[in-house]
């Protein structure tokens, strides 16, 4: 429908429109919105007092305080602004394997779902693609308005996962072009050493950004990638070759290793105040997204 993935059914879209992003801190936006901003404004949320100065609107004079202190104070309120939402989509070669798991398709649908929820809530969205071939958005720019989701979907629809992406340097490079803090979503399989993932996500926390990490893994990928016997496995990104003999025990060990890797990333996220969710492609996407939405900072 309008170039959106098949997961975007009318019912799902309706559920997305009910969501809005909640951050753990306040970020300045670029325009009026529904998120409290550190800027002073005209919302109902009290922010501070200051001495009355000539020209101030005396409707904001706190008369109660004047009665107690005999001094005139003006009540200050917070501003409500839109939220700058950054979505980083991993389109490296590893996202294309195993092909029958359709990991990249799931990652793209996740990114679009987050983007649509943000746009529907009146926030600004910037999508950055890491790796891949096709026609990703080139210049870093925010899009605004829910109708822009179609344009985003078309651009992401032409992408094919390819290439080698080292997450930490790639995200550090992206940070150069980001001038304002905001909400960050990173959608990736995070198939890298844990310290590399920690370094990558730590870039955003160091920049005072609210980060949500969505790990996408394939159903068969978790189950030994369907391999059996003597196999020479080739890394989709680094082309590293490894000869292994896969039997039932080896498959179990492989599964445990992958689960431990995922668990360590999740623990890091919790320790660092990051939000984390794991999606395996053998599950229903709608169920996953709507259940994981709260954990990722998307609330009703």
């Amino acid at each position: 429908m309008l170039g959106l993935p098949e997961e975007f059914t009318p019912d799902f879209i309706a559920r997305l429109e009910q969501l809005r992003i909640k951050t753990r801190r306040e970020y300045a936006g670029l325009g009026k919105g529904f998120h409290l901003s550190p800027r002073r404004g005209s919302s109902l949320e009290f922010s501070d007092f200051r001495h009355y100065a000539l020209g101030d609107d005396f409707r904001y004079i706190d008369w109660g305080l004047y009665g107690r202190t005999d001094k005139l104070y003006i009540k200050l309120f917070k501003e409500e602004e839109d939220l700058l939402t950054y979505i980083f989509l991993d389109a490296s070669g590893s996202m294309g394997f195993p092909a029958n798991d359709r990991k990249f398709e799931a990652a793209r649908a996740t990114a679009l779902a987050v983007a649509y929820a943000a746009l529907a809530a009146g926030d600004r969205v910037m999508i950055r693609v890491l790796g891949g071939v096709g026609a990703p958005p080139k210049a870093p720019a925010f899009v605004y308005g829910r109708h822009r989701i179609v344009e985003i979907a078309r651009q992401l629809g032409t992408l094919t996962p390819a290439g080698e992406v080292d997450l930490a340097p790639a995200l550090a490079h992206e940070m150069v072009s980001i001038r304002r803090a905001g909400k960050v979503f990173v959608v990736s399989d995070f198939l890298a050493m844990v310290n590399s993932v920690e370094r990558a996500l730590g870039i955003f926390t160091a920049a005072n950004m609210d980060v949500s990490a969505v790990q996408i893994l394939g159903g068969s990928e978790l189950d030994g990638q369907g391999l059996h016997g003597d196999v020479e496995v080739i890394d989709a990104e680094s082309r590293e070759r490894l000869r292994v003999a896969l039997g039932p025990r080896e498959r179990e060990r492989y599964r445990q290793t992958l689960q431990r890797l995922s668990r360590e990333i999740r623990n890091f996220c919790f320790r660092s105040g990051l939000r984390y969710a794991l999606y395996t492609t053998d599950r229903n996407f709608h169920d996953f997204f709507l259940r994981a939405a709260t954990g990722l900072g998307l609330v009703h």
């Binding site: 195993p98 198939l191 050493m193 369907g226 016997g229 003597d230 196999v231 290793t257 890797l261």
Partner: protein, 606 residues
Amino acid sequence: MGLFDSFGLVYPAALYLFALPPLLVIAYLARERPRQVVVSSVIAFRALRAMRGKRFGGRPRLQWTFFLELLILCFAVLAIASPYVAGKGNPAAVVIDNSAAMQAQTSSGPSRFENIRKRIAAALSSSDSEAALYVTAPQPHEVGVFHGADAVRAALDRVSVTDAPDDTAALVGLLAQLNANRHLGRIIFGSYRPIAAPVPARVEEITAGEPIANYAIGSFVLSRESFGAAALHGRATVANFSRSAQTLALTVVADGKTAARAQARVEAGEVAALDFPNLIPAKLYRAQLEPSDGFPLDNVAYATGSAVRGVSILLVSPTPAHGRSLRSIPGVGLSTVPPASYSPTELAAVDLAIFEYAVPKQLPAVNSLLVMPPPGDPIFTFNVRTAAHLDLTGWLPVDPVTDGVNFHLLNLRSGQYFGVHPWMRPVVSGAGGALILAANRQGHRFIATGFNPLPYLGRANLPMSILTLNMLGYLADFGGQGMDLRTGAPWIIPAGVKQIVLPSGRKETVRAGESFSSATIQGIYTLMAADDSQTQRAVNLADLATSDLENAPPLKVEAAGRAASEQAAVRTSLTPYLLAAIMLLLVLESLLVYSRGRPAIPALGR
């Protein structure tokens, strides 16, 4: 005798193919070469134990299937080499005479065949590890090769005597062939006929049956009494193979009713003919000879009414209606064509032709009647003169055409007189020339008439009808006699016949045009057509040489074989056993591999 004396290879060079097993190992190693699969990341695979060794094909894992396939390959190479085991003993050949003469009773009671069978069974010994069994009738042939004396005895029990005579020449040929086979240890030949001296050394003859007196029907055939008659004429020959003169009586039973009886005094060793004129029309005829004797088979003979062949006539005429009267003659089949459509090839299926108001362009290949032929043709060159009224003036008094015709009552109307003919003689003459001409030309009979007798055929004009039947009878030469089928002699299955019911009641599905060789029993064979119509054929022994049980001429077999002491090696091929083992192992491997199931490996790369 050592191992290599009892085992050998027909093609020892095939053993070079044993170089193939290393290829199998290489194939296995190649099969074990790990597949290359692109995965999302090798990070989780690093934790696994890496494969040992980096040699060709990776780690060779020689499973049980490898050894199974190695065994199959070895068996296949051995099978190509054609191994055999040479036995110590010599095989035997058993030839039992199952011809009709073996049905004759012996003085002790059982038939010759039973007697011989018992004696052959007794002659077989435990040393006869292998024996080929042959029977002699209807043609000598091998029944099979049997291992062990008991198996041969069991096969002997299954052999039955036939009603067919044997082919003496073929039997002598078989015996000579067996005698020349140096692999055979001994040849047991059981028959009522001895082998003329000198008997070959390896041949053990078992003769049963002393000469016995026998009275036989030699032949029993039917023919039509005369042209156009419904009654049949039976003729039988009877023989007296005894040492004294004997009155032989033959009774003919037609469809269960006694139709005729005749007898004749026949001298010893002589043959007499008995005639049965005016036999009533019937489907089946059975001739029974008296007195009975120890060989009842030739005391009975069969014939069928349908076997008496009719006369087929081709009428070439512009007025086909004239042929209607011909159709009413019993035993006459008529086909009609106009002169313009006539082709000489149509004569191939007929016995005689009638050309009415027409003359063929070439001399017909069958006997022909030319009715009022037109003048001036180049073949017959008739010279005719048309007359409004024909006057009869003379006829040949002794001639098959004029026999029994009252020419005084014959009233001829318009017609034509023939002038002098260069090669046809006048049979009936008139005032203006010949009215009937007849001649033999190129082996065929020809009659030409100056009047048309065909419209007057019937009781209304008896002289004309008799004249016409005389002419047709002369040309048809009284048609043919009934078919004389003999036991053991194959015959061609007629068109349309799908099934034949044997005298025993057994049904045999057949195909028209093929040879039917199962007529080994004397009696009536019913031929069933696809349209459920039936015809019957009588098959008789009809072989006086077989019936002559007093004089059984000895068989002369050339003594060309080697002495029995020269033992010939008996090779038993092991190839069939190897092939069977290969098939078994292949099936076993297929079943086990299928039941184990190979894990499906999805293509993970793009």
